[in-house]
Symmetry: C2
Subunit: 620 residues, 2 copies
């Protein structure tokens, strides 16, 4: 394999991406051991792996499962994706291990907004970077499935509002061309839910027709919003139905950014196509006027929604600039969802690398959110056990947690670094509660001093890290991460005592309190507004056994983004509590969580253009 | 080649699709003469043709260019797509001609709503039909480009509303890490438009800063709407900006179905990537407070919008069940846009089939809309000359135009058919005004009588058709369309006198009147509301030289969907007049035109589902 040609100073990401030499998808697929029916080619450098491979390799032992997470993010970014890629490049291209990196599909909201793309950086990069940031199909398919459901909700309310039971029934169950009336699959599921065991429309009584036809959605309880993969702040709160054709049936609602859709969380948590179909059918979109949950199955739209996801259930196959394989799949938000790449991608990767291989998977936000949800939600759904956790930090980010002003963070400041290590250390302690070893990775920048790095290593080990190393994969690719990779290999050889933080059969409030106290270090939890009632209602409806997915700021262990370092002695407030029954979690919301970003005065799109040959400029 | 195995009665389309034997994209690409760098594989049965092929074949003579259009549609459907495919299958698989069919991407609105898919029917089918109806990327890319622009408009108004000129300027032209300030490409275009020749931000005077930074969009004049590829009636009219974060800056707007986006029309009318970029930059989204047009270039978003279309500019390559190639590309609405498949697809196909080959391309709605716009808008933009026009009709649709009630239309009724032929005959006369021969195709159904068919043939020839034939391609595939194909071949050998209906340098009102009188047969045109002022304004802004794209009902020659047959003596009203400057046409709107369909009580999605193996059911 041709060695990576490293330039100094590091060129821009798009320059590195456009000058990199890639394997074709056929070559890559062959190299990772796929049979010809187990992958699809989608353009020159993107493939899809079909789920058949899981069947063929079902008796294969899984590889080592490595989670990459971070300290609480700061405005500098710590480089979780860059580190995931650098670690993989090192394992695969330098240490001769079989390896996969599993990443989420990036939203185009940040790509065109403030943050830029999410393809790693420098010489730790997934390529082609424009393909990764802009042209993966997952988010579009999720958006359309989500929005079809939204249209189904409003349309159904509209049609129920002016029709008599019998007219509604005749329209829902019309005669086919042979004069027969049939229930669809979703109608039979609804009938079963209503306790009506009949199979033929003709046999329903008037009362049963009423029960069957009337979803009686209470508009005040609709939690389903429309989505778009654009940062469009004006859609946060809107009124719909103002055309005369809707006859005054207006309603206040809003749009979320597409990655916040429950459909995206479901795609990430499903274990198979059948599991996906069932989860989609369990989605609760609202309650009826008797407070009973109304599902997508009741709306008759769950099958069509799943059909729209038929292709995107297959993970996208791409590669790093050192030609190691990357699976990019799904992209759930890390607050109101669990913020991890997909179970299906991880499972395929674990089988393909086999016993001696490595799968590096990334979790969003800091370890208090991303890793906690990885363990308690994702691993619970997949049945997989992680072997090692990498916590990424940077000196400048640690200094921010140590109270140093942003403008000073790029200068050496040993006291600031040590003070900021409190944040890192608490994450290390937290991970140890799940029973797996932690390797700390200091993502090294050009002005970092040896003294500062040594201090972080000492602090990390004091807190119980298996190892702590600095790493120069940004500037040097996999070669710069050899020490990190070596530590990860050693950590994976440790005996594993993986355990969940809480049992599912505890009351919802207990589960929330365990996370708030054990992970966030709150003194207590405060339930605001109607949250306690809502919890009771969830438990009454049989949703009490689900895991918890707390939506809070990523910038702090607490609910307050300004409390850096290790806040303690705080009361953790639950402002609102909602449920994603299809995805399979309850999500309490603490503090202000925006599910629709805005655009600044000068969004990133100002710099993005394309020349007549199709070369893209300005992407970062 | 293996002969098509025909079953009677004709199975459902999805059954035919799922049981058909297909070429791989590699085999298909080889067969149509593509070099390996001229196509991309996207999944097993979908490819993309790259624009390089146009460069290689630029000296190749074009093939014969056949437009398929129809009489005014009725609720029965006439089968334009089915006929396009059947004709191609006959030319390619039975008469040994090189052939391509060019179709539009179908919207998922109708697929999940009332109408069903658009992949043809019976044994004249593009396959795999689920891939065609649900999984092509064009509409998603168009949607996101459209919606990015919408967010850019509202965001810009928001940020202009609270910032001083200098703050706005400093944010729009910030210092980079080397301390330099630079204008982006779009900023330089805006400066040029303002008559400011300076290249450096530092050189601008206060007045120039003000002119540069303030787009001063008049919210009342915004014509740009958001889009979604779902029939979602509740989004027809909405109020946005109701979240507290938008500080009371609410605005009434709406969503269109995605295929109604100007971006879609642009994709269909562009001749190259550079042409696409320029057209996107010319889009007028609103006027400023001095009534001057505000463009996407002014918003700095035109480059990013084009980047999003980088892949979808390449036409999708698929095939018929008889393995002839199909290009599916773009999908503009047929009322507020021109309703034809893309110029790029047609051009590639014409080069690939070469001098003795045939390209069958379809236009939406009846010939009064789709064909008129094909000639006057699409051919004007492409410079291509059609050789022959096929007008599709069915006996049941003719009977509807002849005043026979729907319930009676499937029964023989010779008088009804002859009376309904008036509609067909007027379309034949209209096409002759463009100087090309017409072949009438009677799309035959099982109960059609020989006597009725003979009557239509006589009437069509009386009206000047080159030929008129009945065709059984639905039930028999290409074999059933051999007579049609033979007539088309003969028609294409005729001397061609193609001409446009109007010259571009005529006043806008004259161009509208020529279409209304010559094609629709109106007595006169009535300009309602502010339409005459708006026309003056367009002409003042330099848009007077564009062709006209009239938005009216497809069901009638007139503006009134109830006036079947050949209405005359009517006044054609222009209710509103708008412009798609990027696409390059003025569109007067007559009557009620919905740009967002609704869903019925029982939408098609009720029947659509997927099994655990990924087989889709219920699609039609």
């Amino acid at each position: 394999m041709k060695k990576l040609e490293i330039k100094t100073p590091t060129p821009t990401d798009i320059e590195i991406s456009q000058s990199s030499e890639l394997l074709t998808i056929e070559e890559l697929s062959k190299e990772i051991g796929l049979l010809s029916n187990e992958y699809e080619i989608h353009g020159k450098y993107r493939g899809k792996i079909t789920l058949e491979v899981l069947e063929r390799l079902k008796n294969q032992e899984n590889g080592n499962y490595v989670l990459v997470t971070g300290i609480n993010p700061t405005s500098f970014g710590e480089g979780k994706t860059t580190t995931s890629l650098g670690l993989s490049q090192s394992l695969g291209a330098h240490l001769n291990k079989k390896v996969f990196t599993c990443l989420r599909c990036p939203s185009r909201g940040p790509t065109f907004g403030i943050k830029g793309g999410a393809s790693g950086g420098g010489y730790s990069l997934v390529v082609p970077m424009d393909e990764f940031n802009l042209f993966l199909p997952d988010i579009d398919a999720v958006s359309i499935a989500n929005n079809l459901c939204a249209a189904a909700i409003d349309t159904r309310m509209f049609h129920e509002s002016y029709q008599k039971d019998i007219d509604l029934f005749n329209r829902l169950c019309p005669k086919d061309k042979n004069g027969n009336r049939l229930f669809t699959k979703s109608m039979l599921i609804r009938l079963k839910k209503l306790g009506i065991e009949k199979q033929k429309p003709e046999d329903l009584t008037d009362l049963e027709i009423n029960q069957f036809c009337r979803l009686n959605i209470d508009p005040q309880t609709i939690t389903w919003k429309r989505v778009v993969d654009v940062s469009d702040r004006y859609l946060r709160k809107i009124t719909v139905g103002q055309s005369q054709t809707e006859k005054g049936r207006i309603r206040e609602t809003g749009f979320d950014i597409a990655v916040a859709s429950e459909v995206m969380a479901i795609l990430a948590l499903a274990n198979s196509l059948q599991d996906l179909r069932e989860r989609i059918g369990r989605i609760v979109v609202a309650r009826d006027k008797d407070s009973r949950p109304v599902t997508t199955e009741d709306l008759g739209v769950a099958g069509a929604m799943t059909v729209l996801l038929k292709d995107v259930i297959k993970p996208n196959l791409m590669q790093t600039i050192e030609k190691t394989p990357v699976l990019v799949h799904s992209g759930p938000f890390a607050n109101i969802a669990h913020g991890n790449s997909s179970i299906i991608a991880d499972k395929i990767a674990l089988k393909l690398v086999g016993k001696d291989g490595y799968v590096v998977t990334e979790a969003g936000f800091g370890a208090d959110c991303g890793a906690e949800k990885f363990f308690n939600i994702k691993c619970r759904s997949s049945g997989l056990t992680p072997n090692c956790c990498v916590i990424v930090c940077s000196l400048r980010a640690l200094k921010t947690h140590g109270g140093i002003p942003l403008s000073e963070c790029k200068k050496p400041n040993i006291e600031g670094v040590i003070k900021g290590c409190s944040n890192l250390k608490q994450h290390i302690e937290n991970i140890s509660k799940f029973g797996i070893p932690t390797v700390v990775c200091i993502n090294q920048f050009i002005n970092d001093t040896d003294e500062e790095i040594a201090a972080v290593i000492t602090e990390a080990k004091k807190a119980g890290a298996f190892d702590a190393v600095s790493s120069t994969h940004y500037a040097r690719g996999g070669e710069g991460a050899i020490q990190l990779a070596t530590s990860v290999i050693e950590a994976c050889q440790m005996k594993n005592n993986f355990k969940f933080l809480y049992e599912l059969n505890l009351p919802i409030k207990s589960k929330i309190e365990i996370i708030a106290k054990e992970i966030y270090r709150a003194d207590s939890v405060k339930y605001e507004g109607t949250t306690e009632e809502d919890i009771e209602n969830f438990e009454k409806n049989g949703f009490g056994n689900l895991p918890i997915c707390i939506a809070k700021t990523q910038y702090s262990f607490s609910h307050d983004p300004k409390l850096l370092g290790t806040p303690n002695g705080f009361v953790f407030p639950i402002r609102e509590i909602r449920a994603s029954i299809g995805a399979g979690f309850i999500f309490p919301i603490s503090g202000d969580i925006s599910t629709m970003p805005g655009l600044p005065t000068r969004p990133a799109y100002y710099d993005i253009d394309i020349d007549e040959k199709g070369n893209i400029t300005g992407l970062f």
